[in-house]
């Protein structure tokens, strides 16, 4: 092959590369932030729902996480770090999001106070976080190592930010309701949390013993739903409850493994 034609062949190949390789779905553009309508203030209430979310099944054994990739994380956990995504104490399941699924009316304004997602001990606190659409999310790095915060929403704008220094804080928000947005750190792949964005403020996350309480509900008939991040939306359970003004209703639910 004459050398004169070789560069032309190579350049043509590169052009074909670009023509051939542009396949696949492109990532959707960040959804536009729409101007919200002035909300109709929803009725305030003084009822509540409380109860226990139990786990029906055998909780898997905790996984031992290899921390050698980051000596600072390893130093924070001299005995190692165990990741227990399904935490059961006396039958009660921790980190379950309990929310009002149906029965509410009116619009609710997001509170001015932000919710906090902290990176501490090379892990997230909390692992399950719920907030309102438009509410500020404060992300803090309490560790003396770098983290990147990378949520992967489907309906909201994805972002990926770095926090290289201890004490750094960043603020973000999600404009649309969305369930179980996974959040991870690409530097430390064992870190995992879930953020759920709701259009109302009636939700709670269970404590270590599986207990929860949702306050401030107006009187009415409600469907209450319980969701665990690891188990997913497919395993979510719900139950109906009647709330009277000033009274505390109870509802216990069981999530199956």
């Amino acid at each position: 092959m004459p050398m004169k034609s070789l560069p032309q062949v190579v350049v043509a190949s590169l052009a074909l590369t670009f023509a051939a390789c542009g396949g696949g779905d492109s990532q959707p553009a960040a959804p536009p932030v729409t101007q919200a309508q002035a909300p109709m203030a929803a009725a305030a209430g003084n009822g509540s729902v409380s109860g226990t979310i139990s786990f029906g099944g055998v909780a898997p054994a905790a996984e031992k996480v290899k921390l050698s990739a980051d000596p600072k994380c390893a130093a924070m956990h001299k005995d190692g770090l165990e990741r227990q995504q399904i935490k059961v104490t006396d039958g009660g399941l921790a980190d379950v999001l309990v929310l009002v699924k149906t029965g509410l009316s009116g619009n609710y304004t997001a509170p001015a106070e932000p919710v906090l997602l902290d990176q501490k001990g090379c892990d997230y606190t909390p692992h399950m976080l719920a907030m309102m659409a438009g509410q500020k999310l404060k992300i803090r790095n309490s560790d003396d190592t770098l983290h990147n915060i990378h949520p992967r929403p489907k309906d909201n704008a994805e972002f990926n930010i770095g926090q290289p220094r201890q004490g750094m804080e960043s603020e973000k928000s999600f404009e649309k309701p969305e369930m179980l947005i996974p959040v991870g750190c690409d530097v430390h792949p064992w870190m995992r949390a879930y953020i759920t964005v709701l259009s109302h403020p009636f939700f709670a996350v269970t404590q270590e013993d599986g207990r929860f309480e949702i306050k401030g509900l107006p009187a009415g008939e409600y469907e209450i739903q319980a969701i665990h991040g690891k188990l997913g939306l497919d395993k979510a359970v719900s139950g109906k409850v009647s709330v009277k003004d000033g009274e505390a209703a109870t509802l216990d639910l069981t999530l199956q493994g």
């Binding site: 050398m3 590169l14 590369t17 051939a20 390789c21 696949g24 000596p71 770095g162 690409d186």
Partner: protein, 309 residues
């Protein structure tokens, strides 16, 4: 005139490019593509702590920078010392392609890994490797030595060109499969979801199965080039074709291990880099076939044959 040091440097650059493909493969295989959220700096620094996913992502950037510097040196060196204008142009094409790769790499990070850019970044990497091979071969003693050219009666030039095209298309399919997360759409091997032909109930299954079926076509194309090479008298071409066929067979084994290991990082990345090696071996075979062989003499027209009789 043969310039031994420049030729060796071109070989080094080609080797570094292959290593860069391995480093880039490890970034995807370990899920570290966004471990460094900014570009061109890394967490605002030239050199961040090389921990966790940063080790793979920033490590990949360091190797890429090294390849960029090597390519720049080669381009300048070639411009100053090379008499052939085609080779001088090729060296600058290589540099432009490496710069384009860097820009694509930055865009993948800034735009959060959009599939078309990630796939383009993967495919251009393979093309850049071929350009480096061309630069290395064009500066070799073999290229510069004037030799009597054997007739390509067996059609090796056509067969090797077809093999290059087939391998490149397979690499594009592989990149699409990887970046559309279809690598485990079929989690078993050699069967596909327990059957010879799986149900095509998802895009991922269809894409993954296409990659497997096309692998057989690649094997056939490279095998045919090997058969054609065996018909030549040139042992260099026969050895090159045997290397290409051997790497292709290894690629099938590595593909199986990537699936059966549930896409463990190392076997999956070895499959990626060996794919580049297959492409490189076939591309070199094609270059050598075109350089060392000549078109067979046309057959005498029928009327002339009759008159001679």
């Amino acid at each position: 005139m043969f310039d031994g040091w420049r030729h060796r440097f071109a070989l080094l650059t080609a080797g570094a490019t292959l290593f860069l493909i391995f480093a880039g493969g490890m970034v995807t295989s370990t899920g570290s593509g966004l471990a460094v959220p900014d570009w061109p700096l890394s967490y605002g620094m030239l050199m961040p702590p090389m921990v966790g996913g940063i080790f793979y992502e920033h490590g990949h950037r360091l190797v890429a920078t090294t390849v960029g510097v090597f390519t720049l040196v080669l381009a300048v060196w070639t411009t100053r010392r090379e008499a052939r204008s085609g080779v001088r142009r090729l060296a600058w094409v290589a540099l432009l392609a490496v710069v384009a790769q860097g820009v694509l790499g930055g865009l993948t990070v800034i735009l959060l890994l959009p599939t078309p850019i990630s796939v383009s970044h993967a495919c251009l990497a393979q093309a850049v490797f071929c350009v480096m091979i061309a630069l290395a071969y064009s500066t070799s003693r073999e290229w510069l030595r004037a030799e009597a050219r054997e007739s390509d009666a067996a059609g090796l030039r056509r067969a090797s060109t077809l093999a290059v095209a087939a391998v490149y298309l397979q690499l594009v399919l592989g990149a699409l499969m990887r970046h559309l997360h279809a690598g485990l759409a079929i989690p078993d091997f050699p069967l596909a979801l327990g059957r010879l032909v799986p149900p095509f109930d998802s895009q991922g299954v269809a894409l993954h199965f296409s990659h497997r079926v096309f692998a057989l076509l690649v094997l056939a194309a490279v095998g045919w080039a090997w058969v054609c090479a065996r018909s030549t008298a040139d042992v260099r071409l026969r050895r090159n074709a045997t290397l290409a066929l051997g790497l292709t067979l290894l690629q099938v084994v590595l593909g199986a291990s990537a699936v059966l290991s549930a896409r463990a990082a190392l076997p999956t990345t070895l499959h990626v880099v060996n794919g580049a090696a297959v492409l490189g071996a076939c591309f070199l075979l094609a270059l050598r076939a075109f350089h060392l062989l000549q078109a067979p003499a046309p057959s005498a027209p029928r009327s002339a044959v009759l008159r001679a009789a």
